[in-house]
């Protein structure tokens, strides 16, 4: 999904009074499904748009995004390791590592 669509979505959700969390790959190491700059947007109702690579790694980032949106309310740098398995445990088979920055966007009145 294009960056433009995601940024528009953040703004549209905000206008409706809804928060969302943007996850962006900021660094990759080894073989990874998506490159630096790939983004996924997670909403407060657990909807998501775009992809940072799918699989268990994405699930991990999805959880982190919800955590920072609902619990910590703070941005966070998340390390995801895709090297610890060969897909045997239902994990990712790409074999690299990614660093993902997750940052919440809240509607104006909730901003500190």
């Amino acid at each position: 999904m294009e960056d433009k669509v995601l940024f528009k979505k953040i703004e549209r959700l905000r206008k409706k009074g809804l928060g969302s969390c943007l996850a962006t790959i900021v660094k990759t190491q080894g073989s990874t499904p998506r490159d630096v700059g790939a983004k996924m947007l997670v909403t407060v109702n657990s909807e998501f748009y775009g992809s940072i690579g799918g699989g268990c790694g994405e699930k991990q980032v999805f959880s982190a995004a919800l955590r920072c949106l609902l619990v910590s309310k703070q941005p966070e740098l998340v390390n995801v390791d895709l090297t610890d398995d060969l897909g045997i445990k239902g994990g990712d088979v790409c074999g690299g590592k990614i660093q993902v920055f997750v940052e919440p966007f809240f509607p104006a009145e909730k901003q500190t």
Binding site: D3, T24, V26, V36, P75, E103, A108
Partner: protein, 253 residues
């Protein structure tokens, strides 16, 4: 102004810009997630107000835009910033709403292109045939003159006749575009290009036209040809025109 609104405003303009986000910081003035924008001309928006840091960020932002490489940088001890490149959404202009146009538009929409379809036959340029596309039933040349064509535009010429393709090509060639591709057999393409060369178009520009169109995957049906064209659009978008040509040549030899 809110930074996300500003990003969305800038996305309507043609030039790429750099969005710098603080992803780790020991400085209170630069909290996690704070963002600034660096434009192509080097100007910085929404800086933190500390001149040294703003200059540093603006410098890195410009480098990133020049090299077209998104990356995170530790700009100063304890301060790491992710420099993202945000660009205008790629737009595809399909001249010709026939058998190939329909599947091509479908592929392109799902690949994230904003798609415009043009044909002078209203039965073909019918919005019911093209979901999520801007469909224009009007004269090709008149339409090409009136719509916005820029460096984020991909133009595919698949009209019903070579005369139309040639006229459309002559209209598009002077514009700065990301991609121009034209359908046709080698012989007919050569004739069109020769004609345009005689009309004064530079060989450099004419050689830049992707023709025969599409990555050579042995496509035969309209859907297969559309897939070959879509694959070519993706290759140009991700790897650039030069590497796309090498790929085509490698397959053909």
């Amino acid at each position: 102004m809110d930074i996300i609104s500003r990003v969305n405003d800038l996305l309507e303009a043609a030039d790429d810009f750099c969005l710098a986000t603080v992803i780790s910081s020991v400085n209170e003035k630069l909290p996690l997630g704070s963002k600034s924008i660096i434009l192509d001309n080097g100007s910085l928006e929404n800086g933190c107000g500390i001149k040294d840091l703003d200059d540093l960020i603006s410098g890195f932002g410009q480098q990133v835009l020049e090299k077209k490489k998104k990356q995170m940088v530790e700009v100063k001890e304890g301060i790491t910033i992710f420099f993202d490149i945000i660009g205008r959404q790629a737009n595809l202009i399909i001249c010709g709403a026939g058998h190939i146009g329909v599947p091509l538009a479908k592929f392109a929409v799902s690949l994230g292109f904003v798609v415009t379809v043009i044909d002078d036959r209203p039965d073909f340029a019918n919005p019911d045939r093209f979901d999520h596309c801007n469909v224009i039933a009007n004269d090709f040349i008149e339409t090409l003159q009136s719509i916005n064509i820029d460096k984020s535009s991909y133009v595919v010429l698949i009209t019903r006749g070579h005369e139309h393709d040639k006229d459309c090509l002559a209209q598009v060639l002077p514009c700065e575009t990301a991609y121009v591709g034209m359908i046709g057999s080698r012989r007919r393409i050569r004739l069109v290009l020769e004609q345009l060369s005689q009309e004064g178009f530079s060989d450099e520009r004419l050689h830049g036209v992707f023709s025969p169109i599409g990555i050579p995957i042995g496509a035969e049906t309209p859907e297969e040809i559309a897939l070959a064209i879509a694959a070519e659009l993706v290759t140009v978008r991700r790897l650039g025109a030069e590497r796309t040509r090498s790929l085509r040549n490698a397959i053909l030899t």
